[in-house]
Amino acid sequence: MTARRSFGAYERIVRGVAWLCLLLVASIAGKAYALLPIQDWKTASGARVLLVVNNDLPMLDVSVDFPAGSGFDAPDKAGLASYTNHLLKLGAGGLSENEISQRTADVGAQLSGRFTADRAGLYLRTLSSTKERDRALDVMTRVLLQPEFPAEALAREKARGIAGLKEADTRPDTIASRAFRRLVFGDHPYGRRAAGEVETVSALTRADLLDFYRRHYVADRAVVSIMGDITRVEAERIAELLTSKLPRGGDAQASMPSVRALERPQSSVLSHPASQAHILVGGPGIRRSDPDYFPIFVGNYILGGGGFASRLNEEVRQKRGLAYSVYSAFVPLLREGPFQIGLQTRGDQAQAALKIVRETLSTFVTSGPSEQELEEAKNNLIGGFPMRIDSNRKIHEYLATIGFYDLPLDYLDRFVENIRKVSVNDIKAAFERRIQPERLVTVVVGGGVEPTAQP
């Protein structure tokens, strides 16, 4: 099936952003109380729990997250966080990997790992009927509390993973994003690949995984998010069940280093037989806790986050037909996550497209959006709020984000206000503070563009 708009990389990145920015529906609903009655408490072991009860559908979503994403990998152990998370399901609590999959499927449940640069955990979707729910939770509990990290499974998964890395390294989009990350983040962990590198993955041992698990999957840093057909009492029981026997007080109050700003522009042009040049432009963006969060969020919608409505799309695709997909995105993380503009275009158009991207960005940073653009962006972001919380899955994700990034529980209630008060000058100032168009990273891969070329 073929669609008019790319849902590829663009969607992956933007979804990350979107989730961190739920808007308030107050203007629509006109209600003074919280839109989603979020209940929160701590378990006896110190884990944080967030709950929204909703009985419309006979189903339940449960996740447990930890600060255990790839950003916590040591340089010589890139891939460790990801393998630890992946191996949880491959043998636990006396169940083999196949038994874990089969028992989950037996009750129609879906159990999967969750993994980003910051977060790692488990996610369960199950029917809420008691028998199905409790069987599914039994598997989840074993996987979370009693992972065995079987050496055999690790050896096999390393071999598969390494084959996957070698394959990925033949793809122009992977080559581009690897080069981009390295130039933007240098030796910061955000610059490393979550899946690791051939050398670092080869060296991983079962002891490494156990150690990472004990230090990072700890009770008092766990965030349990529960959404769906459940009572408060049952939710409390589930939260205790999932967390009471987690490792305690990991010695490493794992902290992540700061991200350094770029000191000068850097570029990398790599040859590849692909017909299209894959282009990335960007640098470090913002933290999730950045006070400029809302101006950046609204501004990016106008620049290149708003799909067809954005400036980049207008200039690159609509006016000139240079690309199928062009976007800009911020990925706010514990530290400054990437800001990037991406597109693919026929090789002989790469320079023309790059020039337009740079001019568009530069103009935006210097002059900001127009009043009309800002108004239209607000109309979309405020009017589109109901679609951000119109399903259990979306609400669940919102709970997990609030819990993990420690956003206020009334975040939703203040969101419209926060969007509304963003001004043209706020956006201009925020972009000027964060983005220096003359000091960005540029990566071009493929399309017959030669490494000697000036990007």
Partner: protein, 461 residues
């Protein structure tokens, strides 16, 4: 290409695209059905969980209705549908939807073309007004076409030409079929795109874009009568048009195995096996499609299913292995077995091992436990699908667009639950021989190898 397996239950691993069913009938609202005087059909399903509506217009024409020389035109027209009418100039469609807080997009498949908006329920009239306008008033200027066809060519490069496994799938279908238009890629052949003219898009638009070839599907915080009234208001005055006759273009029987090799820059080889199998035509009477679907679930419905358990985790012959079957659609059906061998293993070994797994079922059958597991997943997936208005609308629209009732969803679930181990064994024994098999192999090439010079672009218009 399996990214959008819209309705069939093979999609149960994809979660939100799975079909609703029994609890659906019992626990949620019925579907309201209407037909306007001009032949346009309307389906409405109420979902009052949020003040949101998903609106979709499905046209009963997809890439399988194209002719040689203009492959890809269904999808090109889909792009052009956003290029303006006298009342709603170029770019304004999406801008109006965005200003209303909504999102819009469209997709084209072999069987149909669909356009959708997701927005606040109060803004549904806007979506319908805009859809009705572009159903008859599309401008289709040469100037906008010349720009957009470039975008589509970029899309083809991005989606297919630079993706080895996409090239492999394209070659597989073009080899497995000789007469039926499913052999053409939805995006079209590059040379056809290079030679396409605005007139081709216009012909397509005039041939297929009529109310009597369209279905409006709305799911959300609305009532059936409300949507019916709005649809009458906006679409009611559009006159119906005679639709062209469709030739059946049935694929002749395959008489022997076919093989094709694709060389592309890549590290790992892959192998795709496509077996010709039946598709669902009569949801009440057919049984083989349901048995094939269960077979697919037994082979690769979850991570502990046979292919992964045996070939990836067991013998470690494969880095990955899977099965795929889409039981609904207007054209011929295929059952796919796919895989990538582990380092040091060959595609020949993997091909033999994949077929051996099916043979084992043909000879020894499947366990009751395995069967129950697949059925449990199907039932749960129906409930999970109700969490997404978009998924619900997609299921109904896709079924109706290919000539099956939306009620088929319930029938399919019931029939799947009735499938017996013997039936699974029987289809495994019947359809997996050499006679109607096509094998496509990806032969990895080093990156450093220079690409063959591109052929001349052909006459540009």
């Amino acid at each position: 290409m399996r990214v959008f397996v819209l309705i069939w239950l093979t999609a149960l691993s994809l979660g939100w695209f799975s079909a609703p069913g029994e609890t659906w009938a019992a626990g949620s609202s019925a579907v309201h059905e209407y037909r306007l005087d001009n032949g346009m059909r309307i389906l409405v399903k109420e979902d009052h969980r949020a003040p949101v509506a998903v609106s979709m217009v499905w046209y009963g024409a997809g890439s399988m209705d194209e002719f040689n020389g203009t492959t890809g035109v269904a999808h090109v027209l889909e792009h052009m549908m956003f290029k303006g009418t006298p009342k709603v100039p170029m770019g304004e469609f999406s801008r109006k939807i965005a200003r209303a807080g909504g999102r819009d997009n469209a997709f084209t498949s072999r069987d149909y073309t669909a356009y959708f908006q997701t927005l606040h329920r109060d803004r549904l009239p806007l979506a319908l007004e805009l859809e009705a306008d572009r159903m008859t008033n599309l401008l289709l200027t040469k100037e906008e076409f010349e720009k957009e066809i470039q975008v589509v060519m970029e899309e083809r490069r991005w989606r297919t030409d630079d993706r080895p496994t996409a090239l492999l799938y394209e070659a597989l279908m073009a080899t497995a079929l000789k007469a039926h238009p499913y052999r053409q890629p939805v995006i079209g052949w590059m040379n056809d795109l290079q030679n396409m003219r605005v007139e081709d898009a216009r012909d397509w638009y005039q041939r297929w874009y009529a109310p009597n070839n369209a279905i409006l599907v709305v799911v959300g915080n609305v009532t059936g009568d409300e949507v019916h009234r709005l649809a009458r208001e906006y679409f009611g005055a559009i006159p119906p048009r005679a639709l062209p006759e469709r030739k059946p273009q049935l694929e002749p029987d395959q008489r022997g195995m076919r093989r094709v090799v694709v060389k592309a820059p890549s590290e790992l080889p892959s192998v795709y096996l496509a077996f010709r199998v039946p598709k669902l035509r009569d949801p009440e009477k057919d049984w083989e499609p349901y048995a094939l679907d269960v077979l697919e679930g037994v082979l690769s419905g979850h991570e502990g299913a046979r292919l992964t358990a045996s070939l990836v985790r067991g013998s470690r012959l494969a880095a990955s292995a899977g099965a795929g079957y889409q039981g609904t659609g207007r054209g011929p059906g295929f059952f796919l077995l796919t895989g990538t061998p582990s380092e040091g293993k060959t595609v020949a070994e993997l091909e033999a091992a994949l077929r051996a797994e099916v043979r084992r079922i043909a000879e020894e059958g499947v366990g009751r436990e395995e069967l129950d597991r697949v059925k449990a997943q199907v039932v749960a997936a129906q409930v999970f699908a109700r969490d997404s208005m978009f998924a619900q609308a997609s299921q109904m629209g896709a079924l109706e667009s290919i000539g099956l009732s939306h009620r088929t969803i319930d029938i399919m679930v019931d029939r799947i639950r009735e499938v017996t181990p013997e039936q699974v064994q029987e289809v495994a024994a019947r359809y997996f021989g050499d006679e109607a098999l096509t094998v496509a192999v990806l032969d990895p090439q080093p990156l450093s190898q220079k690409r063959r010079a591109a052929p001349p672009a052909g006459a540009r218009h």
